[in-house]
């Protein structure tokens, strides 16, 4: 099972778990429907698209409402502490949760009690908590953007908001920042650094750089990092090694974005709709149609 753990931007959304399905531009879990705009719903929608193409079981969500007060996140952390030891997920992706070091550590202890250790992926707020707790190495994959990589590389910063000025969020310095993040043990087994060029790295260095197709507008579109994490999560769930899944996922996300002919005003649902044809192109080696013009 691929478990996705995150929040919904509605204050009164209850704690729900269950199989998540995609219906047009909304995800559905149980009786609840949520529009796919960005955040965890966008991650789930992208993962569902991949699972559908590969005939995999659909992702299983653990979701709760939180608009930033942290109450929903804390309830979900506590639920996970209680219920993860009996969980049998092969892959768990942690996403938008309010960072909380103490509760993060309790969740990690609960994971260690599982009968079989799942592959652990962390993005967004949960990745912040993992780094702050000093437990980054317990994870198989982090998916930061350039600003978040600078935060991982700054051994003193408790949040990207406090990354020290001498550690610049400069995409030209990404290999140096990756090295620094590993030197201070603040990186997962693999890093997928999302940006105008996607870097896939480990403690051994940068393994791959994916930079085409290049659509600069993708950086402005909220949720394109979430879709990448969702695609890679589902590819890992399909049985691919983390490194291979990250490389293929980066290509799929870029090609899906390219097919959407993105502008800075495009929405992430436009990108998600093109994931199946991007997968067909990457996984089946179809001709490079993405070189077509959007004009």
């Amino acid at each position: 099972m691929l478990a996705v753990i995150g929040t919904i931007p509605e204050e009164d959304f209850p704690l729900v778990e269950g199989k998540v399905i995609l219906e047009k531009d909304s995800i559905r879990i149980g009786e609840r429907q949520v529009p796919v705009s960005r955040g965890t719903p966008a991650l789930l929608a992208a993962a569902i698209k991949v699972c559908e193409v590969l005939n995999l079981p659909l992702p299983y969500g653990y979701l709760i409402g939180d608009i930033g007060m942290g109450r929903g996140s804390r309830r979900l952390y506590e639920y996970l502490v209680k219920n993860l030891p009996s969980n049998s997920s092969a892959v768990i992706t942690f996403h938008y949760l309010q960072p909380d070091v103490d509760l993060h550590n309790k969740v990690l202890f609960a994971v260690e009690e599982m009968a079989s250790r799942p592959i652990l992926i962390a993005d967004a707020g949960f990745m912040y908590a993992a780094k702050m707790s000093g437990e980054s190495e317990a994870y198989d994959l982090f998916t930061p953007d350039a600003g978040e990589l600078a935060f991982l590389a700054d051994e003193e910063a408790p949040h990207p908001f406090y990354t020290r000025g001498f550690i610049l969020h400069d995409e030209m310095r990404i290999p140096d920042l990756i090295t620094r993040a590993y030197d201070y043990n603040n990186a997962a087994r693999y890093l997928l650094v999302k940006g105008s060029r996607d870097h896939i790295a480990s403690r051994q260095g940068v393994h791959a750089v994916i930079d085409s197709p290049a659509d600069e507008a993708m950086e402005a579109i909220g949720g394109t990092g979430d879709t990448l994490t969702g695609i890679v999560s589902a590819l890992i769930f399909s049985g691919l090694e983390v490194l291979d899944a990250a490389v293929l996922g980066a290509r799929i996300n870029r090609i899906a974005g390219h097919y959407a002919c993105p502008t800075p005003a495009s929405q992430v649902s436009d990108v998600i709709a093109h994931i199946p044809e991007a997968m067909e192109e990457v996984l089946e080696g179809k001709k490079k149609r993405y070189e077509k013009s959007c004009l």
């Binding site: 931007p9 955040g39 908590a129 949040h159 600069e216």
Partner: protein, 184 residues
């Protein structure tokens, strides 16, 4: 140039050498920090929002640095406004400075402003906020939902409806976008 990157530095952030004569106010959550900051600034106190020292750091935190000499009157004002702090602590070591560098990316019709990990993109012709991206705290999708599709003047300010450091960073990007788009 089509993709032009610029950087500028916020005037609000100066050097951090006030150890011993400043104190910090610690609140239950970031939204209370933002409410207290609005109140104290509106009354003219010279305060700054900063990162907490490691010994009281728990997660997504902000604190307010203030002149210790004014502790009593500040506490009275906060109590009257129903935002009393959890703790008042003297500053014994340098506090973390918030990120103060803005990145601008000009896409022609659109301008993207980044502050820390948050990005706000505006249609320069209509002042419409077309996208919010970046950030990992749970109020980011909520803030995006409330702001995207509204103009810079009609959209709610992140400091009014946000609750976390990501929301605070988005406020900085929002203010910078207003400086860039509404003054021209």
């Amino acid at each position: 140039m089509f993709f032009k990157k610029k950087e500028s530095r916020s005037p609000a952030v100066k050097e951090n050498k006030k150890v011993g004569i400043r104190g910090i106010l610690v609140f239950e959550n970031t939204s209370e920090v933002i409410r207290a900051e609005n109140l104290l600034k509106s009354k003219g106190w010279k305060i700054r929002v900063m990162g907490p020292p490691p010994e009281i750091r728990s997660g997504c935190d902000l604190v307010i640095e203030f002149p210790l000499i004014e502790e009593l009157s500040i506490l009275r004002a906060l109590k009257e406004a129903d935002v009393p702090p959890l703790q008042v602590v003297p500053v014994n070591s340098p506090l973390l400075l918030p990120v103060d560098i803005f990145h601008h990316r000009d896409f022609g019709r659109y301008l993207m402003v980044r502050a820390a990990n948050m990005k706000l993109t505006v249609d320069k012709e209509t002042q419409l906020i077309v996208n919010v991206s970046g950030g990992g705290c749970p109020d980011v999708p909520y803030l995006a939902r409330e702001m995207v599709g509204k103009t810079l003047t009609d959209a709610p300010a992140p400091r009014e409806i946000g609750h976390t450091l990501c929301g605070y960073a988005l406020q900085l990007a929002y203010e910078e976008a207003k400086r860039k788009c509404l003054q021209s």
